[in-house]
């Protein structure tokens, strides 16, 4: 039996509210754009934007036939766009050269960021600067980020990466930095192991262990790997000078947390490139594709004077960076990421 109670129709036999009688059409005001290509996006079958109509249909035909040509779990026939950024291309962990001339030149942060921003803007993506990202264990600052489209990038250099992203011939600590009680332990160890390869390894492990244990040593390590980051260097120096409680468990906690939250460490770098949690591109100063050699030898000018020969190598590096940024944006779009 159906009864109306306060305008709601109730089936007393089945004890259920009858939807048809009380349900109203209600518009849904918010709905996220689905994360797969729509009819407005470039067809996933187009491998290149320059493909001809004939080429497109040939691809389409081969793609469909391919499904039948291969048995189940076919990995298929169609080459789709893939993320153009690979971890191994980033050049991290970066190993400092001990010395030497003839090292390649690298794009500086200012140049690279200008170029990357301009390509994003050309694709109608405006970016905010130094945006904190925190997701699924990731915590770092994106160099540029568009919150609406959930896409951005991080320029990987000394300024944006953590100290574990660098290998150096220099040790992270040295004897002179040790606190008295750690120095005793160090001396004892060195006496035991003597001057040997094994001793060298044990010394290294000893230092790394101390860095893990004490905030004080962590700060020293960070300071050692800073490069052209005067503000942070100054901040650490002031803290060290003003706080002599080196053995405190929380020593330097605030600086260390901020550092961890802002910088990309090596593990995070791999996670970002994986693109499972974010749509943030990693462009690296140490990517060999953007390295160039500005020294092209000498030539004589009109007065017969020897001058440095101009080269196009930097322009080529810039072009390569521009292309990679565009490829990334195309890929992200083809994935329905924005």
């Amino acid at each position: 039996m159906i009864k109306s109670v306060f305008g709601i129709f109730i089936d007393t036999k089945n004890k259920s509210i009858i939807m048809k009688n009380r349900l109203k059409v209600t518009p849904i005001r918010k709905y996220k754009t689905p994360r797969y290509p729509s009819y407005l996006d470039e067809s996933p079958l187009l491998m290149s934007r320059k493909v001809t109509k004939t080429g497109y249909y040939a691809t389409a035909l081969l793609g469909a036939f391919g499904l039948f040509a291969f048995s189940t779990n076919s990995n298929a026939t169609l080459e789709l766009k893939e993320n153009p950024i690979k971890f191994k291309e980033l050049g991290f962990p970066h190993t400092y050269a001990m010395y030497g001339t003839g090292l390649p030149d690298r794009l500086d942060r200012e140049t690279a960021v200008d170029i990357i921003d301009s390509i994003f803007l050309a694709n109608k993506i405006e970016l905010s600067k130094e945006v904190p990202i925190s997701k699924n264990g990731l915590s770092f600052n994106a160099t540029g980020y568009n919150e609406k489209h959930n896409i951005g990038y991080v320029w990987l250099d000394h300024q944006s990466t953590a100290s574990d992203c660098f290998n150096s011939w220099r040790s992270s600590l040295n004897k002179s930095a040790l606190l008295p009680q750690d120095l005793d332990a160090y001396n004892k160890l060195m006496k035991e192991v003597g001057d040997s390869y094994e001793g060298y390894q044990k010394e290294k492990d000893f230092f790394e262990n101390l860095i893990k244990q004490r905030g004080y040593y962590k700060l020293l390590k960070i300071k050692r790997y800073l490069w052209r980051n005067d503000a942070l260097e100054q901040k650490i120096e002031t803290y060290l000078r003003e706080n002599k409680n080196y053995l405190d468990v929380d020593y330097g906690k605030e600086i260390l947390e901020q550092y961890d939250n802002e910088k990309v460490d090596l593990k995070e770098m791999e996670q970002i490139v994986d693109e499972k949690d974010t749509s943030i591109a990693t462009f690296s100063k140490y990517d060999s594709r953007f390295a160039y050699n500005s020294f092209g030898g000498y030539e004589k000018d009109e007065n017969g004077k020897l001058v440095l020969k101009e080269t196009d190598t930097k322009k080529e590096a810039i072009k390569d960076l521009e292309n990679l940024v565009q490829e990334y944006i195309d890929w992200a779009k083809s994935e329905g990421r924005f």
């Binding site: 939807m19 349900l23 109203k24 518009p27 005001r29 709905y31 797969y36 079958l45 039948f68």
Partner: protein, 387 residues
């Protein structure tokens, strides 16, 4: 290649049926079939319309009641159109049947005429017995086994039409997978929009759709060629929007339904025996023709903006463009169906989530099926070849 101008006519050749489906929109099952004179008048009317509209493709859909209860008339109508319209008009015959009267020899005759058979089938024998009993309440499962085998022998692409009622929604996953396991891999699924759905029913239905989304994913991973309208139609509203949705309702214009007594209605959902018919939606008769003012009124009602949908983000993807759905739910073609509204809001997010996953995994079947315009052509050719 000349442009395809399509005209669709639904022939309801009888109100009689050998089943008593609980949700049937076609009204009482009475022994009222199309008379010979009505058949001839209907053919004359349709031929006139095809010529007037310069249509080059005529789709004749045989509906009921159960059309095979009047199989001789069915063949006569089809063959007469062939004779009258010649080779200039491509004729596509479609038959929607419950399959009880289908025999191997009948399937042969239908296939020879290129009449495509669709089976109405709601799921497991248990579901069928509950909501689609035969007149004598006989054991349906054995008949269906024979019928399915027979239709698949002639057409591997046979469509199964499945109606989901509040009762059967509890077993939707079992019903769909059962149909699929019988070899019917092309499944059109629709809700009984006239039913009294409750919020609880929709909660249960959402759980069943979640299960089906996993099942759909598995089919894609196994590269199985299939169609499940509940999911595929909604994916297409995103990937092929202009074709797959929007104001595509052509009822009354390029599509009409003819009742057994010769009355003309805009679509199949409106056809009922004379004593139950809604005369307000009748457009005319095959003998007197379509009443222009009624058709114009209907068309203006159909294209009216639905203020209740204003500002809805899913408006362009929703099924409330369908006049029949709206009518069966609200008794008006221009008022959006609340049942459809709730259903879309529940189902589209499930479908989008699954699709995003398949896309992210670069699932080749998903990509080919939804982005390759040649997919269905190749799939049909290759499946037939393999079969």
């Amino acid at each position: 290649m000349s442009k395809v101008i399509k005209y669709t006519v639904n022939f309801h050749i009888t109100h009689d049926c050998n089943m008593r489906c609980s949700y049937c929109y076609a009204g009482d099952k009475v022994k009222a079939s199309m008379s010979q004179s009505t058949i001839e008048a209907s053919i004359d009317f349709v031929v006139g319309e095809v010529q007037r509209k310069k249509a080059n493709k005529l789709i004749i859909a045989f509906l009921g009641g159960e059309p095979l209860m009047e199989k001789q008339q069915l063949f006569h109508i089809h063959d007469t159109f062939k004779k009258r319209l010649g080779d200039e008009v491509k004729i596509v015959g479609q038959l929607s049947t419950n399959g009880l009267l289908l025999t191997d020899s009948l399937m042969k005759e239908l296939t020879e005429r290129n009449i495509m058979v669709s089976l109405s089938l709601d799921g497991t024998p248990e579901t069928m017995q509950k909501q689609r009993p035969t007149i004598g309440n006989s054991d349906y499962s054995k008949i269906m086994q024979r019928t399915i085998k027979s239709v698949l022998k002639y057409n591997l692409f046979t469509n199964a039409f499945c109606v989901v009622t509040p009762e059967s929604s509890k077993k939707l996953y079992d019903n769909i997978t059962w149909i699929y396991d019988q070899g019917l891999h092309f499944i059109n699924c629709t809700l009984d929009y006239s039913a009294q759905w409750t919020y609880q029913d929709f909660e249960v239905l959402a759980t069943e759709y979640e299960k089906l989304s996993k099942w759909y994913e598995e089919r894609c991973n196994n590269v199985e060629h299939f169609y499940l309208s509940s999911f595929d139609e909604r994916i297409q509203t995103h990937t092929k929007k202009p074709v797959a949705c929007g104001n595509k309702c052509s009822i009354g214009n390029n599509q009409i339904s003819i009742a057994p007594n010769g009355d003309i209605y805009p679509c199949m959902q409106f056809v009922k025996p004379a004593h139950q018919a809604d005369k307000s939606v009748q457009l005319g008769t095959v003998k007197g023709g379509v009443v222009a003012s009624k058709l114009l009124q209907l068309q203006s009602d159909i294209i009216k903006d639905k203020p209740e949908c204003s500002g809805c983000k899913l408006k362009d993807r929703c099924s409330t463009w369908c006049s029949c759905i709206n009518y069966s739910s609200t008794k008006s073609v221009s008022k959006a169906s609340p049942v459809a509204c709730h259903h879309e809001k529940m189902l589209i997010p499930i479908v989008d989530k699954m699709s995003a996953k398949l896309w992210k995994e670069k699932n080749q079947l998903f990509i080919q099926k939804h982005y390759n315009p040649l997919y269905s052509f190749v799939a049909q050719a290759m499946t037939t070849y393999k079969g």
